[in-house]
């Protein structure tokens, strides 16, 4: 009897490899966003802490209070420091 439906193994090769590749690229992006978020959050937290410190500043008071965390912000997009997806490139 002649085949009148696409065989299962054809469906597999038609759908699975390219879908896997697409899903991997989405996962890669989400992972990159997740690893970039703590740096972004620190930046935002510092900004609002600075802002609150400035608003509550009284004459004679040191604006760099202990409430403002001195977090180091590592190189990000546009900062001039080159970093590939959060990982250092190593060779050899």
């Amino acid at each position: 009897m002649e085949e009148t439906a696409i065989p299962l193994y054809s469906w597999f090769w038609l759908v699975v490899p390219m879908s896997v590749v697409f899903l991997l690229s989405i996962l890669n992006y989400l992972r990159h966003r997740a690893s970039a978020k703590p740096a972004d959050n620190n930046k935002t937290r510092n900004k609002s802490a600075d802002h609150n410190a400035r608003r509550s500043h009284q004459p004679g008071q040191d604006i760099a209070s202990k409430d403002v965390p001195e977090e180091k912000i590592s190189g990000e997009k546009g900062s001039g420091k080159l970093r590939a997806s959060g990982k250092d490139l190593s060779f050899g």
């Binding site: 009148t4 490899p17 690229s25 992972r31 966003r33």
Partner: protein, 481 residues
């Protein structure tokens, strides 16, 4: 071709030229003209890479192949999507980083010369020459494809169609350089994507349901449903091996070098791969439905399956837009190749060898004039429609993939690689492709890119280990990137 389609198409061409004018003032330095000043956003980089990569093959070649042979053509789509993914994954960010660190190299020959501190300039000359030779042929093939489309869609003579297509591409590329090319690629990529999503949806409605469509295909030939039909191991490996070409295609690697930051790469990868996967599915589906649709009146030329279906099924305005999508596919590749050739002439030969102290303005104009010069050479090659240039595309893809791919990969990952290894890799890859192409029978039926890639990689390793280790200044360049 009716008035609606002609009007839509003319508006599309005017929009392309407008991009050229818009970005004319942007190009103050050669880096601006060739790489957009490395300011390309992730979405534009992704779609520009995809549209530059996929020429008329995506809307003509692949649907035509599926229409003629069935689902066994899926192997090339699988190979390409895996290759493109790996290229974004392992090459994009590193290449972006390293080309900027090694003296802001804006072309591949320039990068390779700086990477290996080649005082002899041989590596620059060899790689720039390979780029010019292969891309002149590749560009000619694009112009032939575009001319044949114009010819069949508008009833123009071949020469008129050739000149008209070339004129539009040259104008916006000449004026606007990389940014015009990338942004036109971006919109062309959207158009191509929409065409390949819309057409299948309309076709499903035409056939009422999926089962009716599949039954229609099976009635023509049930073997068309089988991905293994008439495929041997060598055949499957050859189609999958197309993916290896990505690592060495200068016009795609240029998008990686131009992206605004390595941190933008994951987003660009997701957009680019998403675009590619859906577009490939759409192209395969169009060819597949064509088997059932044209069951009673087979097409004389399988490659016109998409074009004819669009004209028969769609509203004339929509047909005009979809025709523009097909021409977009061709133009988006030709403009990128023209620009890479221009960069080889302006940066690698003119500035690199003859006028290292040339001013920015002078270099930008040398780049512009080079665009016109290369287009003229490509026109001469393409003038004869029987010149069989289209057959050379597979050969050019293999040539770049085999001669540049391993060299780029090793240069990004292996400190011990030397100048001698790089030269050996380029020459071995190119020679293997040239020789293997002419051999037949048994394993020689394998697509030449696979042995070319492997032999090139072997030559890089052997010659690097045989030669003196690279100097400290070369390896220090790679530290901490």
């Amino acid at each position: 071709m009716n008035t609606a389609a002609v009007v839509t198409f003319i508006l599309y061409l005017c929009a392309l030229i407008a991009f050229g004018i818009l970005f004319y003032r942007f190009s103050e330095t050669l880096s601006d003209y060739i790489l957009g000043g490395r300011k390309l956003k992730s979405g534009v980089a992704a779609l520009s890479a995809g549209a530059s990569d996929m020429s008329g093959w995506l809307l003509l070649g692949l649907p035509g192949a599926v229409y003629a042979a069935g689902l066994n053509q899926i192997w090339i789509a699988i190979g390409l999507s895996i290759g493109a993914f790996l290229n974004w994954q392992f090459v994009a960010a590193r290449l972006r980083t390293i080309t900027e660190k090694t003296g802001n190299a804006i072309t591949l020959p320039d990068y390779l010369e700086r990477r290996f501190e080649d005082k002899t300039r041989v590596l620059r000359i060899v790689t720039a020459t390979v780029i010019l030779l292969f891309f002149a042929l590749y560009t000619a093939s694009g112009l032939v494809a575009g001319a044949k489309l114009f010819e069949s869609s508008f009833g123009w003579g071949y020469e008129t169609a050739l000149l008209a297509g070339a004129a539009v591409i040259v104008v916006y590329t000449f004026l606007g350089g990389f940014m015009a090319v990338s942004w036109t690629d971006f919109f062309q990529g959207i158009l191509m994507f929409l065409a390949l999503i819309t057409a299948p949806i309309m076709l499903v409605f035409f056939f009422e349901n999926w089962e009716t469509l599949v039954a229609g295909v099976a009635e023509v030939d049930a073997a068309y449903l089988n991905v293994y039909h008439e495929m041997t191991l060598i055949g499957i490996l050859s189609l999958l091996a197309w993916g290896l070409g990505y690592f060495g295609q200068p016009h795609i690697l240029a998008r990686f070098m131009a992206i605004d930051s390595p941190a933008s790469v994951p987003k660009a990868q997701m957009i680019g791969i998403g675009w590619m996967v859906f577009a490939l599915f759409g192209a395969v589906f169009v060819g597949f439905t064509g088997i059932a649709y044209f069951a009673d009146s087979p097409l004389p030329d399988p490659e016109f399956v998409f074009l004819v279906m669009v004209q028969e099924l769609f509203n004339p305005w929509l047909a005009g837009i979809l025709l523009a999508a097909i021409l977009s596919a061709v133009m988006s590749t030709v403009d990128s190749q023209l620009l890479v050739c221009s960069s080889a002439i302006a940066e690698d030969f003119y500035k690199g060898l003859f006028r290292p102290s040339a001013k920015h303005r002078e270099l930008v104009w040398v780049g512009r004039i080079s665009v016109v010069a290369v287009a003229l050479v490509a026109l001469v090659i393409a003038w004869n429609p029987e010149a069989m240039v289209l057959e050379l595309v597979a050969w050019a893809w293999a040539g770049f993939g085999a001669s540049f791919g391993p060299v780029i990969l090793f240069s990004l990952f292996w400190k011990r690689m030397t100048l001698q290894g790089a030269l050996a890799g380029v020459i071995t890859g190119a020679v293997t492709v040239l020789v293997w192409y002419h051999l037949e029978g048994g394993w020689f039926d394998l697509y030449e890119i696979l042995p070319g890639f492997l032999f090139s990689a072997g030559a890089i390793y052997v010659f690097s280990m045989w030669s003196e280790p690279p100097s400290r200044s070369v390896t220090d360049k790679m530290d901490g990137t």
